[in-house]
Symmetry: C2
Subunit: 344 residues, 2 copies
């Protein structure tokens, strides 16, 4: 039975997701070249996502006193950029499945996929330009600055993670992981939506640091839950290869924990598996690593960390949104930490 | 002996190139992550280029009555984005050498290189944001719109070219080629610099279409000359693999011409070579294709086309810049068509 939180979140995601999808259609609908560009640009967005990021942005703007129409373009820019990241992430991670279908580079080759990701990034600028007409130069420029910061944090986080894999880093701490996902995930998934929403809707006296902390804790819980779903989720619902993170050598919190607690010989075997090229990792390797994660209780460890972070997000929400009028949008933001833990 | 045109261009490129390089250092100098990101972000820019694009932007702004300081950020944004394109183009073309050294993905792998290209694209937004302080919201927004258009044209042109290779297109016409390089090369190499320079320096009554045509003809002559240098140039000066375009199956005007004029059996062999994977093309294949290009006078054909385009650019310059006061910057712009043909 769905909880109250999950019903509210689902309903809001559906409503604001429709706004975001309409905006995406508008900004992604271009003419030629169709077959090698604009048809492919629209592929990932049309595979359907939850539009969590766009919805959080619209809800935050409304909770802080703004209107949907004022936030829509900033939300759409974010969704387009999110899809740009997905296309390039899939190339960088050599992922095979995205949202239940083959990844773009599996379908069309790496060169075309890299260019499609670039095109999506370029197209994300359009709605940020539109903001100048709708919000005036002051607020539009602040949103543009936020978007630049968010994109910069994201490529920095991605660089840290790719560097770990390239160097086969095996002595990572929980705090290294949190710093990496702060940049790679939280900035664009939760911090930008909340900050930009607050800027669009609110007055200047908003305590933006508090909003940022809420976004960080929420985004971190989200990322850990995402990594857990990759290990223990339902492949059909999840839309990616289960255990794919282990195949890819991705430094999840479960892997970091395993490297911390595994006995010497087991740890050496994990390190050896990680040091191999992805194509030389076998299903047996992946199953063995997964088994060791279970044996050493790495999955409950990750789950507890996600719960702790979601709790911190709830606490920050109670401070960051306390002065706002009661509204469905405020309740939606407050419900997100619980929803993040419940989602499958 | 250098001509007057080439001496003037060389001197101007050195002066404005120094301005651009200082700006690049400013905008690319960031902290961590250093080894897998910011050191690599600075790699291609530090290998040294001519800063043609930035210099043209500054010169155009000055010729139209603006100051170097007003144009510097728009020029720097362009140079940064140019380097972003180079990194991704090298991945997409599987190029091995850039500016005399191994390409970024050869040195650090495709995943890191894709992310470094993304980072450069993000960093190109910084100077466009700075424009709002220096130029005010009106002009800064126009430059931002130009940058978005330019980047969009570039990814569209890239998509056309990648599509041709993916589909092994062999029935291309000269006009298909010109349309492709209008988007892929001219917009960011010559059209944006001239348009943005004119916008920054000039009054609103500028005939921007005339400036655009000048940029198109100039950029097209530049691209054809670039393709010629890949075939007949001096590898050390050129900084890429000679004949690399044939290896990559790049649809240059020489290749398009060869496919038009080669006798049936020869044409079939060219098509067969092009249909193979790059790694299955041999040095013998490349030498044979190159020999056929010589036998069928494809190189003089390309040279004549470049001359015709440069002549058209000179004509457009005489109309587009006629009303401007005489200045070194105006002479520089007028000298570019000849310089493009002379460069080695």
């Amino acid at each position: 039975m769905p909880t109250f939180a999950s019903a509210l979140v689902k309903e809001t995601l559906e409503e604001y997701g429709a706004v975001a999808r309409a905006g995406l259609e508008h900004y992604l609908k271009r003419g030629e070249p169709r077959r090698h560009l604009y048809d492919l640009v629209a592929d990932y967005p049309r595979r359907g996502g939850r539009s969590l990021r766009a919805s959080a942005c619209i809800a935050a703007a409304r909770a802080f006193g703004g209107a949907t129409a004022e936030a829509a373009d900033s939300a759409v820019a974010l969704e387009i950029l999110h899809n740009a990241f997905l296309v390039h992430d899939d190339v960088e991670d050599e992922s095979e499945i995205r949202r239940g279908k083959p990844t773009l580079h599996e379908l069309h080759g790496v060169p075309v996929a890299v260019n499609v990701g670039d095109a999506l990034a370029v197209l994300s600028i359009g709605p940020l330009i539109s903001n100048f007409k709708k919000l005036g130069p002051g607020r539009a420029l602040r949103v543009l600055e936020e978007a630049e910061r968010m994109a910069r944090e994201s490529v920095e986080g991605q660089a840290v993670e790719l560097g770990w894999r390239r160097d086969n880093a095996v002595d990572l701490r929980v705090e290294d992981y949190l710093m990496m996902i702060l940049k790679k995930t939280c900035w664009y998934t939760t911090i930008y939506p909340c900050r930009v929403g607050a800027m669009i809707g609110g007055a200047d006296e908003i305590d933006i640091d508090r909003v940022t902390r809420f976004g960080f804790f929420l985004g971190a819980a989200f990322q850990i839950q995402d990594d857990l779903l990759n290990l223990v989720g339902d492949q059909k619902k999840y839309g990616k290869e289960l255990g794919g993170d282990i195949f890819e050598g991705k430094r999840t919190i479960m892997l970091i924990r395993l490297l911390q607690v595994a006995p010497r010989a087991e740890r050496a075997r994990v390190v050896a598996i990680l040091s191999r090229d992805r194509r030389r990792r076998s299903a047996t390797d992946v199953a063995w690593v997964r088994g060791r994660m279970e044996a050493h209780r790495c999955i409950p460890f990750a789950r507890e960390l996600a719960h702790g972070l979601a709790g911190a997000a709830r606490h920050e929400a109670s401070l960051a949104f306390a002065h706002l009028p009661r509204s469905r949008d405020r309740r939606f933001l407050e419900a997100l930490p619980l929803w993040v833990l419940e989602r499958t």
